[in-house]
């Protein structure tokens, strides 16, 4: 009985990890930049929702949509204003730039809220659903639903529409895409926007579960990495599966081994996967071609 319950909670957690991992993966696939500031975009999404709900008094759903839209714009601006500008430099520059803008975002949250730990009012005031002994909270249902819809929408767009095929084409070969008349810089900007927006959804979903503080994003970054690594770096579906697996693994490890290990499950996953099976579960070769 506990096993099912753990698995279910793990999947709910994992769904958020999956979303974060997918959003990082989108950026990586489209622009080959790994966004080390992504956790702070998740945090920003949560804070914007808080702002709109608590300070502006807007309904949650409207706030959530606005927050996601705003983060899309922010992602786009970051790409166009910061990442694109250092394109000619070494890849170390990208990593540092991502860390830097993440730090700025955190700094802004700190300057405004500093000492406060902000409680988000309860959003989904529904009582838990019972399946026999199994408890499913409204929060979990909302997460499953939101993540499920988003994933269907995303993969539908990516694999079934012509716009999606263009995206895939650019991911395959930038030069080729440019030759057939696709505006690659615009594409990169849009994909950063999409990544930031997806990450913001993660923040929006997490906000009601926890309290908000400026350092919120750090753990999501690591979980996202672990999920991405597990699923195979750069594999979109892999990131989703990796996220779900990580969420479930944390709960199992916590219950059956030791709760002390929950916190490092992600790190151990990263190290084990890269040591034993660098391609992850679904990925292509990791090693740079020599």
């Amino acid at each position: 009985m506990y096993f099912l319950q753990l698995t279910l909670s793990g999947l709910a957690q994992g769904a958020i990890y999956a979303l974060v991992a997918l959003s990082m993966c989108v950026v990586y696939r489209a622009t080959t930049v790994v966004n080390f500031g992504h956790g702070d975009l998740v945090m920003a999404g949560a804070f914007v929702v808080y702002l709109l709900v608590v300070l502006a008094g807007m309904p949650f759903l409207v706030s959530a949509i606005l927050a996601v839209a705003l983060l899309f714009v922010l992602g786009l601006l970051i790409e166009v204003g910061l990442i694109e500008r250092i394109k000619s430099g070494p890849h170390i520059g990208f990593a540092l730039m991502c860390i830097a803008f993440g730090y700025v975002l955190r700094g802004i949250a700190r300057a405004v809220w500093g000492r406060e730990v902000l409680p988000m009012p309860r959003v989904f005031d529904l009582s838990p659903v019972m399946f026999g002994d199994l408890v499913v909270t409204a929060d979990a249902l909302v997460i499953f639903f939101a993540v499920g819809v988003l994933l269907m929408l995303f993969f539908g767009l990516f694999y079934r529409t012509s716009a999606g095929r263009i995206m895939q084409a650019v991911c395959q070969s930038e030069r080729g895409a440019a030759l057939v008349g696709i505006n690659v810089p615009t594409f990169h900007g849009v994909m950063w926007g999409v990544g930031a927006a997806l990450g913001a959804v993660g923040g929006v979903l997490v906000a009601p579960l926890t309290l908000l503080h400026p350092a919120l994003g750090a753990s999501f970054l690591i979980k996202g990495f672990a999920a991405m690594t597990l699923g195979g770096f750069g594999s979109l579906a892999g990131a989703v599966v990796g996220g779900l697996l990580l969420g479930v693994a944390e709960q199992w490890v916590g219950f059956y081994v030791s709760t002390k290990l929950i916190d490092i499950t992600a790190y151990v996953v990263i190290i084990l996967v890269l040591a034993l099976r660098p391609n992850g579960l679904f990925g292509r070769a990791v090693a740079e071609r020599v």
Binding site: R110, V135, G254, T259
Partner: protein
Amino acid sequence: MKQSVHLLRVGIAILACALTTIASAAESTGVTDTTIKIGIMGPFSGNAASYSKAEIGLDAYYKWVNDQGGVNGRKIETVLEDYACDSAKGIAAVKKLIYQDKVFMLHGNSCSAVAMAIKPVVLEAGIPWVIAHAANGAISAPATKNIFHGVPVGKTMGMAMGRFIVTKPGAAKIAVIQHTDDWAKSYCGPAMEFLASKNIRPVVEVSFERGETDATAQTLKIKQANPDFVIACLYESETAIFLKDAKKFGLNAPVMGTAGTDLENTLKRVGDLDTVSNYYVPHMYADNLDGPRLKRFVEILKKYYPNESVTAFSLISMGSAAAVVEALKRSGRDLSREKFIAELDKIKDFDTGVLAGRITWTPADRDGVKEVAVAGFVNGKPAVLKAWGQPL
């Protein structure tokens, strides 16, 4: 070559000079005809910034004292230093206060690990330091010449937590859930020690890290052990998550939290009374945070920091500030560090108005506040409790 040798000689001469320069701090450093400089170090930035509400409350209190006319014709000049709960920054902050800003005394610190790191620096300088917030008893014990504890130490709180737990009839099995950090340990450690002295040992101990958003594994593990009482040394957000999960999975045992949380805010965060009705916290204050006896102190805070929200940390350092002001008054116009330390040691049974316990310092015992109550919900309202089921 010749030049290098010459430079070397100069260098050695300089070195010798520097080594013989011995800094000696004057006894009345930081005191002018009109001011007394007090250094306040707090984690105003970084991941533990929510602690620094204590130092903000402290600063507000001193500002208020000034507006009441100050102390013996002098105004208190506070110097706030941020150390972001980081040892290196903490040492730099304290050294800056002592040697650059030349403050008269130190009043501050929230993070225990940093307090331990700066302790040798403060001892060496011999400057009076009243610990405003950090709970580790080892900072002030064994007693030294110049360090005073202005809040109940972890041991006092842990004992209050433990004492309360054993008043629950039939409480034999306890479970512990805590963060793995020095803050959680300063509560859970002494509480478990006290219970161990009553032959009660935890049936299950689980950890729940800061920043995690789900406590299913922890809650189920605790539920499996079927405890009579749960001790939860968790931060605000994690407390809320744990309480919600406990409700969700039908873990009905009462939960003893820490002074890092309070009943009013926890209720606000969790959202429904049912979930928190079985939550208890050690209570350092003389009243509920929104009670009439604390109203005066909340107003002081709001006067100087109008946008500051009030949490369990906000008023905690005001008690020792009241004691400091009293000792400064008693030291008279002719203020020196030695005199001030002597007066601090004469503070006996001092009612601060804000803390539940009275402050007593002696040269042999600097652990000033030895009483902590426990609070819980009675009929849906926060209330201070004598024992299980007995409101004060």
